[in-house]
């Protein structure tokens, strides 16, 4: 086990002074090396839960316990946002090396690690390009490279492909599986899409809104390694129906 989420809640105070429960008491384990997806409608607190795992949001009550030492430096958590959030004045290579620069890693080691990670995401030939010269899918690949370059113990992804067209999204899903097989990272992934959830995940936590909570957790028993062929399996379609039912 990597992380235990122990009875965590989050309450925001709205402008009118009203208390809004973003996340009701939630308990969840994140296993070492697993691909865990949080799926649910808007307002179910999946983004809040993800941001708590990242340390961006403090729980109102409850605890998040890391196995071993709690993350001391940013280098323990990688985060991929809905948008690429690349620094537009830096080249792709400099963007990917950026975390290492801020951690004080020396330039040569940083360049080496950044180049390896760019190769992993298939952007080796675009190291010198500026973000504006990349397509949406390529920008998001650079963002993934930036989140992986410092080998974090946990990679968090907040609807990373939701802004991409369907074809690009399918390709990015396959690439994400390949990248994961290569680096063996633990990933917590947030999505609206049942297809994405069933195709990518080892486990899917289905959440519901008002108040936000985890309704049920499924272990997706589809064969690995996953690929296009999996999408033709009756079991895959059974999972899609199951997840749709849960979300209703």
């Amino acid at each position: 086990m990597l992380i235990e989420v122990q009875g965590v809640t989050k309450t925001f105070v709205s402008r009118g002074g009203e208390q809004v429960v973003a996340l009701a008491e939630t308990t969840l384990d994140v296993q070492q090396g697993e691909f865990l997806t949080l799926i649910g409608p808007s307002g179910c607190g999946k983004s809040t839960l993800l941001r708590m795992l990242a340390g961006l949001v403090e729980p109102t009550s409850g605890r998040i316990v890391w196995q071993g030492t709690a993350p001391a430096r940013g280098s323990e958590v990688g985060f991929v946002f809905q948008e690429p959030v690349l620094l537009p004045w830096l080249s792709v290579l400099d963007n990917v090396r950026f975390p290492l620069d801020t951690f004080g890693v020396d330039r040569r080691a940083g360049d080496e690690a950044a180049r390896q990670t760019l190769e992993l995401v298939g952007l080796k030939d675009f190291a010198r390009a500026l973000p504006k010269e990349l397509s949406g899918g390529m920008k998001q690949r650079a963002a993934i490279a930036r989140a992986l370059v410092y080998k974090p113990r946990l990679v968090l992804m907040d609807e990373p492909f939701s802004a991409l067209d369907l074809l690009t999204r399918d390709r990015m899903n396959d690439e994400l599986l390949a990248i994961r097989a290569e680096v063996g990272a633990t990933i917590v992934f947030v999505t609206h899409s049942v297809e994405e959830a069933a195709y990518l995940s080892d486990r899917v936590a289905v959440m519901s809104a008002r108040p936000g909570q985890i309704r049920t957790i499924h272990t997706i028993d589809l064969p690995a390694p996953r690929g296009e062929a999996v999408k033709d399996l009756p079991a895959f379609h059974a999972w899609l129906s199951q997840l749709r039912r849960d979300l209703r």
Binding site: R51, G55, L56, G74, V85, L87, K132
Partner: protein
């Protein structure tokens, strides 16, 4: 060699306008003290530059522009940074700043002369007061316009406040800061010339007043040309440095 159509237009349009101007002064026998013909203005410009009498005046004006622009920008950047970082302070001082910002600085000019005398100081103070606000507003806008996800990225990576500012916030704010600097540069030119109108015996502004009060229309027109070109030149310097700094856009 073939000329680009735009280059041809850039030569033809002023030539046509000058031609019309000349035709008008000749056809209607306009007295030169009202509207001097173009060749009289050209002769005057030649006399000013070839004779060298304009250089001290031009230098004086450029000096005030430079001093006012540098000091006003530095102040605008500094206060803009403080206000962007401390919203509580901004709420406290915003009404007074708005009052100062909207007050016509020309109306304040006599006050500056009263306080700082007829010399260089009051001229620079007037110019600073014109440059300060657009730069401050640009700085606040720029620092505030950081996308929330960018700010989250800084937190994820646990950047120190200094890293956050110099590596992320300041570079992202550069486009807005430059919009402020460009407005500030044009204002500095206006401020410098205006301040020379009001007092002193040197500078392009002084030459304009001198030409106007002594009915030297060709000199006055020459000065209009020189100050307009000066304004364009000052603006272009900023546009070029912006292009160089923002080549990633």
């Amino acid at each position: 060699m073939s000329l680009h159509p735009r280059a041809i237009m850039m030569l033809v349009t002023p030539a046509v306008l000058i031609g019309l101007w000349w035709l008008y002064t000749v056809a209607f026998a306009i007295p030169p003290y009202l509207l001097p013909p173009p060749q009289a203005v050209a002769t005057e410009l030649w006399r000013l530059f070839a004779g060298g009498s304009i250089w001290p005046h031009l230098g004086h004006t450029l000096g005030i522009i430079a001093a006012g622009f540098v000091l006003g920008s530095a102040g605008g950047l500094a206060l803009g940074f403080v206000l962007a970082k401390l919203p509580a302070v901004e709420r406290l001082v915003a009404p007074y700043l708005l009052f100062l910002q909207t007050a016509p600085k020309i109306a304040l000019a006599p006050l500056f002369i009263l306080w700082f005398g007829l010399g260089l100081t009051s001229k620079i103070v007037l110019t600073v007061s014109l440059v300060f606000f657009p730069v401050m507003v640009g700085t606040i806008l720029g620092l505030r316009s950081l996308p929330p996800m960018m700010s989250e990225l800084c937190s994820i990576l646990r950047l120190t406040p200094a890293q956050r500012f110099f590596r992320v916030e300041l570079p992202s704010a550069v486009p807005e800061i430059f919009s402020g600097l460009k407005v500030g540069a044009v204002q500095a030119t206006i401020g410098a010339i205006l301040s020379e109108w009001l007092s002193g015996g040197t500078g392009l502004g002084y030459l304009m007043v001198f030409a106007g009060t002594t009915y030297k229309a060709p000199l006055l027109f020459a000065m209009v040309v020189v100050t307009a070109l000066l304004g364009i030149a000052v603006y272009q310097v900023l546009v070029l440095s912006e292009k160089w700094l923002l080549s990633w856009r």
